[in-house]
């Protein structure tokens, strides 16, 4: 799912220009809504690139439901995409993703801060200034101290196991700092300084120009020390956003109501249309879908799409289908092909695999063209800025593989009758198992015999598929894999899976098979390039190069089939959330 560890140096440049691209401009979803078609004609993908049913009408209750439950409502302790989307209703970070449809929604704008961060020359120090008139739900003013405290507490992994670790990893914390609970009253000004109530300064261990991306993450949402109850804070998070908790029954659901001390004047990004937000958790998934369709609830908060049963009801029915959106996520499900394992050290054998693979099988493994994904022909998902899909290994007219070509390459590889190797996957993931089975069947058509090797997902990368020596010893020629970055950016997407320098002999890397010096060079040179537009070709070049080496078998770019009930206004999908933007939503 979401991924940790962003290589610091790298993203720097990427974001430097991300800044340039969309400096101070900030328009609310509402406004951009008016630019979209006013008449709300329900049609398939109507909310994909523009605002569906735009409105600025306030009031009403919006009903969310979740077939599972939040990892936690605590800003320091949550790492689900939908949670990061939703949390902006009751919490404000220093910056945030713009609430706007499509690509525009992928830009960062200031939130608590008056402006985006001011980096030092070396990009190792970042300074933010808070807006005036910010208040918590209890009316006490929000100061930079509260933000600093919030970040500090988020480093206590034992109390907050789920949250992201960017700031814990990148800020210059005192040695052995374990957060304000265990390291009571330890001065952490080496990491965060708050010279006054309005200013907050972050000190990084290495340069990082993309800090604004980290500043939009929930751990920078202010937490009043007086009200902090550690692991139990999730039971009542003190709101800094437009809505606050009325009641919260963990495991059942909760209700948000307007926060009287939230001042719209301080917050240009949130239209805050509904008066009330009701959320039910642990709702039976199929039941949830049925209630979505009956209009009993408005949104499946998980944003991962409908269940198979519902899908088989919706798709054949044009009226129902017109009420769905089908975004492509910035996630690639793929299979690594290890050139370190014989006979895959021979490029022709690798190409044989790419040709023989049945892409449609890959697609069904993940749930078909609507909820599974779009067949991927290369690495970068189309919605990544500048991505240009291409296909080096056309797998036949019906997408089930080009066996003739596969055989050619097998012959060229000196294995005319095919060969045997293993395929690793995460035991706990039925879809990866299905993928492995699908590949097993499709490759068998050209005589490539695969043996399935399930591994526990907890140690998949650290001990097995991600550990080069293990891969060689155990002949893990193929390894089912997947990747999605925490935010929409070419570098963020490619670097972790194609830069050979992230591979560690001790294991733990998601890059299992890509060791191409030229690619590494291209990454370095991209760091010298200040202009975004000029860097985009580089991403595509890297993408191509990797595909040429045939060390990655792209499967699908994940998609989800989202149901859009009647009665919702201001519905759109932003490239940052890749699901409905919950901040903008309203009800008729």
């Amino acid at each position: 799912m979401k991924k940790r560890r962003v290589a610091a140096a790298a993203v720097t440049a990427a974001l430097a220009m991300g800044l340039a691209a969309c400096g101070g401009t900030s328009t609310t979803g509402g406004e951009s809504g008016q630019s979209a078609a006013p008449a709300a004609k329900a049609e398939f993908n109507a909310a994909l690139t523009k605002v569906f049913n735009p409105s600025t009408k306030k009031g009403g209750t919006i009903k969310f439901a979740n077939s599972g439950d939040w990892d936690s409502l605590d800003p320091a302790d949550t790492y689900y995409g939908y949670s990061w989307n939703f949390i902006r209703l009751y919490g404000r970070a220093l910056t945030m993703f713009k609430s706007a449809p499509g690509a525009e929604g992928a830009t960062v704008v200031p939130d608590l801060a008056t402006d985006l961060g001011k980096p030092s020359e070396d990009f190792k120090t970042w300074t933010y200034t808070l807006r005036d008139g910010l208040k918590f739900e209890d009316g006490t003013p929000i100061t930079s101290k509260d933000v600093a405290y919030a970040v500090a507490r988020s480093t206590d992994k034992e109390t907050f196991p789920n949250g992201p670790t960017y700031l814990k990893d990148m800020l210059n914390w005192p040695k052995g700092y374990e957060g304000p609970y265990k390291s009571k009253d330890v001065d952490f000004s080496s990491a965060i300084e708050t010279p006054d109530d309005k200013t907050i300064i972050f000190h990084l261990t290495q340069p990082y120009s993309g800090f604004d991306y980290l500043a939009q993450m929930s751990p920078t949402m202010p937490v009043p020390k007086a009200k902090d109850t550690g692991a139990k804070y999730r039971e009542h998070v003190i709101s800094s956003g437009p809505y606050m908790f009325e009641k919260n029954e963990i495991g059942k659901g909760f209700t948000l109501v307007r926060n009287p001390h939230w001042d719209p004047a301080t917050d240009p990004n949130r239209p805050a249309l509904p008066d009330r937000i009701e959320v039910q958790t642990n709702v039976n998934a199929d039941d949830l879908d049925n209630r979505l369709m009956s209009g009993d609830i408005h949104i499946d908060v998980a944003g991962t799409g409908v269940q198979p049963a519902a899908m088989s009801k919706i798709l054949p029915d044009p009226n129902l289908k017109a009420q769905t959106d089908n975004p492509t996520l910035q996630r690639l499900w793929y299979t690594s092909i290890s050139p370190t394992v014989k006979p895959l050290d021979n490029i022709d054998c690798r190409k044989a695999v790419l040709y023989a693979a049945d892409k449609t099988g890959y697609q069904s493994a993940y749930g078909g063209e609507f909820s599974g994904g779009q067949i991927a022909t290369n690495l970068m998902p189309p919605s990544i800025p500048g991505a240009q899909p291409f296909d080096l290994y056309p797998s036949g007219p019906d997408g089930t593989g080009d066996l003739a070509k596969a055989k050619e390459h097998l012959a060229a590889c000196g294995q005319p009758n095919g060969f045997e190797t293993n395929i690793a996957y995460r035991a706990e993931r039925p879809k990866e198992k299905a993928t492995a089975e699908a590949l097993q069947q499709s490759l068998a058509r050209v005589g490539i015999k695969l043996t399935l090797k399930p591994y526990p997902q907890a140690d998949y990368f650290s001990l097995y598929a991600g550990k080069p020596p293990y891969v060689v010893e155990n002949k893990l020629g193929l390894a089912v894999n997947g990747w999605g970055s925490d935010y929409p950016d070419g570098y963020g997407f490619l670097q972790q899976i194609t830069d050979s320098r992230v591979i560690r002999e001790t294991g733990g890397s998601s890059n299992i098979s890509v060791r191409i010096p030229e690619v590494d060079k291209m990454f370095d040179q991209s760091l010298q390039e200040a202009d975004a537009k000029k860097r985009e070709p580089i991403w595509n070049a890297i993408d191509k190069r990797v595909m040429e080496e045939a060390v990655i078998l792209p499967g699908v770019w994940a998609k989800s089939l989202l149901f859009r009930p009647k009665g919702l206004t201001n519905v759109f999908i932003s490239d940052s959330q890749q699901m409905y933007d919950y901040v903008a939503l309203g009800v008729q």
Binding site: P308, A309, S312, G361, S364, G367, P430, A438
Partner: protein, 331 residues
């Protein structure tokens, strides 16, 4: 009785004659019981029907590959051409039931439901039989020990049985089946799962047999032929194996037969809850769990469901018949 009239207070029966009587009476019973039982069983149409079904099922399970070759497709083979790639449900109506796919195809992969049901029988029966065997062995051993030696041993074992019967079995079993990783105890994959399930199911259901056996042993222990044997200086092992066990065969047989269907249901339940034998290996319970996600394709649930139903029913019918035949009082 040997005397022409049962005369109360008659002291006229000489002792040795009694022993003789006891002995040959047992002989007579032993013989005729079996015969009578068999007669009754044969007369019991329903039970025989059950027996026939069971035999068929066993044949199916054993010759699964053959049968699938003749009437179906390999249970793991995909037939995606049968599946609508967008909705992932079978293209044809009625879940694609046809001469080619007798029970239709599974959603998503289009695997042959018929073959999967057939192979499911293997897992189901295998586990049920082995588990029953295990619990019968444990149950009989401990039951006889408890019943025969009595005293402290008896109290100990009886308590143990109570404890077992007090366990929230299913929760327990799921938990246990849940915590064991994919590779453990030198086993892995299906072998591990099967072994694990057999152990869990067998280990938790032995008290049902144990209780019966203990009870029977207690009553048998008091019978004169045991005393006779004792008085002739026979040692415990001899008495247990020569005198007791032969007389325990009937009840054990009955309750073992009646335990099998329970165990089949147990296995199905565990598979349904996802702690049984892992997919893609076909299990009836697992198929039902899958079917629940695709409830828009009812036939998917129907066949594995019926398979469980018919199998369990057959065993129940036969078990009942057997009981009625072997001890008519039970009716």
């Amino acid at each position: 009785m040997t005397a022409p009239l049962d005369v109360p207070g008659s002291a006229t029966e000489p002792a040795p004659e009694a022993v003789l009587a006891g002995a040959d009476r047992k002989a007579i019973q032993g013989r005729s019981l079996g015969q009578i039982a068999w007669m009754r069983l044969k007369r019991d149409k329903v039970a025989m029907a059950g027996a026939v079904v069971i035999v068929v099922l066993i044949i199916v399970a054993v010759f699964a590959p053959l049968i699938v070759n003749l009437f179906g497709h390999p249970p793991l083979e995909f037939h995606r051409e049968k599946i609508d790639q967008s909705t992932l449900v079978p293209k044809e109506p009625f879940g694609g039931i046809s001469w080619d796919f007798l029970f239709g195809v599974e959603p998503q992969w289009g695997r042959d439901i018929f073959s999967r049901v057939v192979y499911g029988a293997r897992i189901s029966l295998l586990i049920a039989f082995l588990a029953t065997l295990l619990s019968t062995v444990i149950g009989t051993t401990l039951g006889v020990i408890a019943g025969y030696f009595g005293g402290f041993v008896d109290t100990l074992i009886s308590r143990a049985m109570d404890v077992f019967l007090a366990f929230p079995l299913l929760v327990f079993a799921i938990a246990l089946a849940g915590v064991v990783p994919d590779q453990a105890f030198g086993l892995s994959g299906d072998t591990l799962r099967v072994a694990l399930l057999v152990f869990i199911i067998g280990f938790f259901s032995w008290p049902y047999i144990g209780r019966i056996v203990r009870g029977q042993t207690l009553s048998l222990r008091e019978r004169e032929f045991v005393d006779a044997a004792k008085s002739l200086g026979a040692r415990s092992p001899y008495i247990i194996f020569r005198e007791l066990l032969p007389n325990l065969v009937a009840p054990i047989l009955i309750y073992a037969t009646l335990l099998i269907p329970t165990n089949i249901l147990f296995e199905a339940a565990l598979s349904f809850l996802g702690v049984g034998v892992r997919p893609p290996t076909p299990t009836w319970g697992g198929m039902l769990a899958e079917a629940a996600r695709y409830y828009t394709v009812p036939h998917f649930a129907l066949f594995p469901g019926l398979a469980i139903f018919i199998t369990v029913l057959a065993f129940n019918l036969f078990g009942d018949g057997l009981r009625d035949a072997l001890d008519p009082r039970g009716r």
